[in-house]
Subunit: 286 residues, 2 copies
């Protein structure tokens, strides 16, 4: 265990104190991992709630001021804003601070930042797979990251020590860490998160309102993520557009095979496809 | 409250003591609603488990013998077998017994039975929307139907008294009952259950095994029902083939709109679609 995260940090700044940022703040404080947690946001009402919930010890609307004495900065804003917020934070934070993020896509963000940070400031991208259809600090939980996976995505210039420090930050919150390239992350995230989101939204939108009173566990489970914030998800889908479109094309192939089997009334073909689906699903567990 | 279900029934026979049949047996016994619960099945091992779990007071492999003294018979077998089991039960049960079922499709079953029961035997179709990807009496629960919806689907010759008696049977287990024609049920069930099942299976099958280790809540929730028993679900999808294919065609229209918006990189169109999906989802609740 090489470095600082195992003893309490002095100050962690969190840019964007919503579900993810707020949960980081709660976890840091509950676990005694940071003396100060500075919450940085755009709306005073959210920041007041973050203070009330104990997700931050201090808050500010001013990014530069908020990161001025931070050892570690975590940018938890929309994927469309993350690179800009990282660069802004890097210009205002102490020499040698470590910046990471919580964005659901990584290639574009890492590329926009890689090699552009001066003053010994380090950035390592992260993606905690711990989201929810719920948003806002009101739903933040200190245990949100416990046993969840966080993918850490070093860029081409990232040094080992910074990867380790970032990984330790997340494991200190209870998460498991997996290291992937930004590109491999985005391909996997498309398959496991972004394509499913698109599918859930298409299913929810397709369902006629007249049929909704019959919605039971199956429909509810399948469409839950369609309740997520449309603006955030539009940014994510478009930031990972190439991979999502590739996933959609794969989905269409399987879909066409099922539709054709249904049109033929081919029980064997339908059943085989359902068996293969079950096999994949059973490999993952509940 | 017109009739017998409010005082304990003497004997209820359950044909197919799996998740649904076993849960009916447990609920009947826990609530003191039947003196005898006869479990009828095809495998002695399942029947032994049903007895051990208390889901049946007696069990038999012989359908005719099992229903011989039943006041109420509930057929909980695969949709492909239900009509045959109802007709077999009707030929062997006491005069005036009431038969219902728990099949996920109704039009074909009701049509195959309507007008073919002699000897004062009555049949009213039912569909408890309380399934799960889990199967077998091992997962049965006495509270499976509490606050769940059961659709009761009278045929053209069904008399009011029988609909009420069937409805009371389910409400006595804690369920809410909605009355629909078999045709309206099957259309709604396609939208709310059978199409989602097809979508979940296509998504699960499409996901590359290499990406499964990253599967978090979203993918797990969305594909959970794909873990259901392929044989049972093949029967359901094919029994409701026309409605499922209609639903698939509607899904394809929304899907194509999303894909085209993604191809154009059209944030407004993507966001509008996601807003509409969220609106539908939020109308249902968690």
């Amino acid at each position: 265990m090489p470095c600082a995260v195992t003893k309490p940090l002095d100050t962690v700044a969190i840019v964007g104190v919503g579900l993810i940022g707020g949960s980081i703040g709660l976890a840091l404080r509950e676990r005694g991992l940071a003396r100060n947690v500075v919450g940085i946001g755009r709306r005073e009402t959210s920041l007041a709630l973050a203070r009330d919930r104990g997700a931050a010890t201090a808050t500010t609307l001013d990014l530069a001021g908020g990161v001025a004495s931070a050892d570690v900065i975590v940018v938890c804003t929309s994927v469309a804003d993350i690179a800009r917020h990282v660069l802004d934070a890097a210009a205002a934070c102490p020499l040698g601070a470590l910046i990471t993020d919580a964005g659901s896509t990584k290639t574009g963000i890492v590329a926009a930042i890689d090699g552009r940070l001066g003053r010994g400031v380090r950035f390592v991208g992260s993606h905690p797979l711990a989201g929810s259809e719920k948003t806002g600090v009101a739903h933040a939980r200190a245990d949100l990251f416990v046993d969840r996976l966080v993918v850490v995505t070093p860029g081409t210039t990232t040094v080992e020590e910074d990867i380790e420090k970032t990984s330790e930050f997340w494991t200190s919150l209870g998460a498991k860490v997996q290291r992937m390239s930004p590109e491999a992350h985005d391909e996997a995230a498309a398959a496991i998160s972004h394509l499913p989101h698109a599918v859930a939204c298409v299913l929810a939108k397709t369902t006629e309102s007249a049929h909704l009173p019959l919605a039971a566990t199956g429909w509810r489970d399948m469409t839950r993520i369609a309740g997520g914030e449309p603006g955030l998800w539009t940014s994510i889908l478009l930031a990972n557009r190439g991979n999502v479109l590739k996933g959609m094309a794969e989905f269409e192939k399987t879909w066409a095979a099922l539709r054709q089997a249904m049109e033929r009334g081919d029980a064997t073909a339908v059943s085989t496809l359902l068996e293969e689906a079950k096999h994949k699903r059973d490999a993952v567990g509940s």
